[in-house]
């Protein structure tokens, strides 16, 4: 059957990338401070249940909280030290979450991990279990437990394993550095996934603003690997799951479908690396790459950060602020969360800390919609943000649903492009939250 390969999607925007600030900075290890805070809820699903007591001694890589259900993930200590108890800390989203506090003894004693050099002899269920035990979640930002993703109803219906190396979010370079510095681990992780789904083909998807990564993977992937390196057009939000699937396979996934319904599993670069570490070396997920960047930061850089470290400590290690920051974002400017404090612990899904001297949002007040249609032409969900935001504002739920409001992926393109500076994404997303909560109740 004729199937045209698209390497992009409909809509999207080109915000200022800002990647040059940190893209050439090799990953360095961040030094954790005295206290580490492990949030029990670092993923979508039930919070993890603490299994350590105050006063317990823990080693790096020791499980400190157990998965609280099937859609949940365990949490591991990233340093050795003493458990100080459970304390509430503000999360990046701004709400307090329970955190297990560990006092770092500075010795970094590690748990012994069970290596497995011949993972190709393991069956899919054993690998799935290893992924589950390692506490791996989608590290692109959503934090969906990976073992759930790799447990589709019909494993034989999976045709594609997509590795998401688009990194379309402005300023972020954590995936870029990972691809450049650890491409073998990425390929290794993908091979493990392909081993679990023998009928599937692997595609490593990278935007064309990272030609060095594309070249590296093309060089490392062998002809018999069943892996394709796909160059995608650079456009935000290319890394959004549904847009990535469309660009790579031409298949369309709507809001009520899972990628597996279209025969696809999509995993982020860091997630695939974590799968490799977990299956090959038995290492649980204890650290991740975080980009500290923005025009207010002294030395923008990429850190390998132990989970549980505070963002304020991380910023200090990047030299602190050189200019006064007016906005500090956990994540990138398009989908990240603005912080009011930096006493926020790094979680498995923290991809960046972006400190900006100028807040573009408060620079200009919203004005009347002139119906220019820019939001419509950039919307990757192909809906009408201008209309939906009005329905949301007026609480017209029926119309909101009729106009496909649930198809919104909250990428922020409409708010970005709006010449009247209207908070379209924000209005639509709050209405979606209300409707999703109602749907759950039913």
């Amino acid at each position: 059957m004729f199937q045209k390969k698209r390497n992009t999607f409909h809509g999207g925007v080109h915000p200022y990338e800002g990647k040059e600030l940190s893209k050439d900075k090799p990953i360095v290890k961040a030094q954790p401070g005295n206290l580490l805070y492990y949030a029990v809820s670092q993923h979508i699903g039930a919070p993890a249940v603490p299994i350590v007591q105050k006063g317990d001694h823990v080693k790096a890589g020791q499980k400190i909280a157990e998965a609280g259900g099937f859609v949940s993930a365990p949490v591991y200590a990233s340093v050795s030290g003493t458990v100080k108890g459970i304390e509430k800390k503000v999360s990046a989203a701004g709400s307090p979450v329970d955190c297990i506090v560990v006092e770092n003894d500075g010795l970094y004693e590690k748990e012994t991990f069970e290596e497995c050099p011949h993972w190709e002899k393991l069956d899919a269920d054993t690998i799935r279990n290893k992924i589950k035990e390692a506490g791996i979640v989608g590290m692109g930002g959503a934090g969906f437990p990976t073992h759930v993703k790799v447990s589709p109803k019909d494993p034989s219906a999976i045709d594609y394993i997509l590795v998401n190396g688009a990194e379309c979010e402005p300023y972020l370079t954590s995936d870029y550095r990972r691809m450049l510095e650890d491409p073998e681990k990425v390929i290794g992780g993908l091979k493990i996934m392909l081993h679990m789904f023998p009928k599937a083909k692997g595609i490593i998807c990278i935007e064309d603003n990272k030609p060095d990564c594309i070249a590296k993977f093309c060089e490392l992937v062998l002809p018999g690997d069943n892996i394709e390196v796909l160059e995608l057009k650079t456009k935000y939000p290319q890394g959004a799951e549904r847009m990535l699937i469309y660009a790579a396979t031409g298949r369309k996934v709507n809001s009520s479908m899972l990628p597996a319904d279209a025969g696809c599993i999509v995993d982020n670069i860091d997630t695939v690396t974590a799968i490799y570490q977990a299956v090959r070396f038995g290492e649980p997920l204890m650290s991740r790459i975080v980009t500290v960047t923005g025009d207010a930061v002294q030395n923008p850089c990429n850190f390998e950060v132990p989970v549980g470290m505070l963002l304020s400590e991380l910023l200090e290690q990047a030299g602190g602020l050189k200019n006064e920051a007016s906005k500090i974002i956990c994540g990138g400017p398009m989908m990240g969360k603005a912080l009011f404090t930096m006493e926020v612990p790094v979680t498995k899904t923290t991809s960046a800390l972006t400190c900006l001297t100028e807040d573009e949002v408060s620079a200009l007040a919203p004005s009347a919609c002139i119906n220019c249609g820019r939001c419509v032409s950039v919307c990757p969900g192909q809906i009408l943000p201008a209309r939906l935001s009005v329905f949301a504002e007026h609480g017209e739920e029926e119309k909101f649903l009729k106009y496909g409001g649930m198809e919104c992926c909250e990428c922020g393109c409409c708010s970005f492009i709006c010449p009247a500076r209207r908070p379209l994404t924000q209005e639509i997303s709050s209405m979606r939250k209300v409707l999703l909560a109602k749907r759950k109740k039913k």
């Binding site: 409909h10 925007v13 915000p15 200022y16 701004g94 402005p170 549904r242 469309y246 369309k252 996934v253 709507n254 809001s255 479908m257 319904d261 279209a262 602020l321 920051a325 007016s326 906005k327 500090i328 974002i329 400017p333 398009m334 989908m335 990240g336 603005a338 912080l339 009011f340 900006l356 807040d359 949002v361 620079a363 200009l364 004005s367 009347a368 919609c369 002139i370 119906n371 220019c372 249609g373 032409s377 990757p380 969900g381 192909q382 809906i383 009408l384 201008a386 009729k402 496909g404 198809e407 922020g412 708010s415 970005f416 492009i417 010449p419 009247a420 500076r421 994404t425 924000q426 997303s429």
Partner: protein, 318 residues
């Protein structure tokens, strides 16, 4: 860190294009045609433009002050309305006409419907139609270009009216603009320059002007009674308000459908109606009424062109 941090929900980045920049781009794009108008018709044209461009923002200012609303004249939309209104008037129009037209356009058509973005008709065109109905004599008193150095064969009647009466017209002077007509509509060249400028800077899309003009020409070809007559079709293309209307008024954001599909339907209706008015109507002109009327159909068009969303509709996957 001393100052408090700004907190808002994502996205935190904003494009540099804002409403006022778009409005000023439109003013800039209208400038060539307005200049040709002043060159052709003399300083009186400039005076009419100045009055109209002063009255429109002033009306908006007074209304908003009076209603204790935030004053929005800095967005430039009232200036655009003012300029378009003047460009839609003949140079012989009395000086009080842009005042009445401007007040009507801004007060009744724009502000009483809720201000910028809420009007259901293009304010400048509604102002023009209001004047046309109230003072038909003044509004159809077209003078030939006054500039002494320009010699024009058509005087009094617009070339489009001449073509309707079966006369041959000079297409080159229609293209350049030294013919009779309203201040801003005569020069197809200057309007094209402005229109293409707006397309290049992504303020408007080609779809509405091209489909509108294409449909109108097709209609004139089929029902004009002249068959494939270059002179007649050329008069339809370059004459009357088609160029000004298609590039600058049919593309008005507020009063055209928001989806591409809706815009196609809208442009086709515009072309058909303009053709009907021009060929079967009393007057040779039909652009203004066609646009105003189609503006009113936009809510209906939008109702039937609601998109289904990415991955929705089409064949259900088994």
């Amino acid at each position: 860190m001393n100052g408090l941090l700004h907190v808002s929900s994502s996205p935190h980045a904003r494009s540099k294009v804002t409403t006022d920049k778009i409005m000023f781009a439109v003013l800039l794009a209208l400038a060539p045609a307005a200049c040709v108008g002043v060159w052709n018709f003399g300083l009186r044209a400039l005076l009419l433009i100045a009055i109209s461009m002063a009255v429109c923002p002033l009306t908006e200012y007074l209304y908003e002050k009076g209603m204790k609303k935030p004053v929005t004249i800095a967005d430039g939309s009232a200036l655009v309305t003012g300029l378009l209104l003047a460009m839609n008037m003949p140079v012989q129009a009395p000086l009080w006409m842009p005042v009445i037209g401007g007040v009507f356009a801004i007060l009744v058509v724009k502000q009483l419907f809720g201000g910028l973005g809420q009007n259901i008709m293009n304010p400048a065109l509604a102002g023009r139609c209001f004047l046309l109905i109230s003072f038909p004599g003044h509004m159809t008193n077209f003078a030939a270009p006054a500039a002494a150095h320009l010699v024009d064969t058509v005087s009094g009647a617009t070339p489009l009216a001449a073509a309707k009466a079966g006369e041959q017209v000079n297409l080159l002077s229609m293209f350049l603009g030294n013919t009779a007509g309203t201040i801003g509509e005569t020069s197809a060249l200057a309007l094209l320059i402005g229109g293409i400028f707006l397309v290049c800077i992504h303020v408007i899309d080609l779809n509405i002007p091209l489909i509108y003009i294409g449909t109108e020409l097709l209609f004139a070809l089929l029902f004009g009674g002249h068959g494939f007559d270059i002179n007649f079709l050329g008069a339809h293309l370059l004459g009357g308000g088609l160029m000004l209307g298609a590039w600058f008024m049919a593309t008005d954001y507020v009063t055209r459908p928001i989806t591409k599909k809706g815009q196609y339907i809208y442009a086709v209706i515009l072309g058909l109606l303009t053709g009907v008015f021009r060929i079967f109507g009393n007057s040779a002109e039909g652009v203004s009424y066609a646009i105003i009327f189609t503006n009113l159909l936009v809510p209906l068009i939008e109702r039937v062109t609601v998109p289904v969303g990415f991955g929705r509709g089409g064949k259900k996957k088994a």
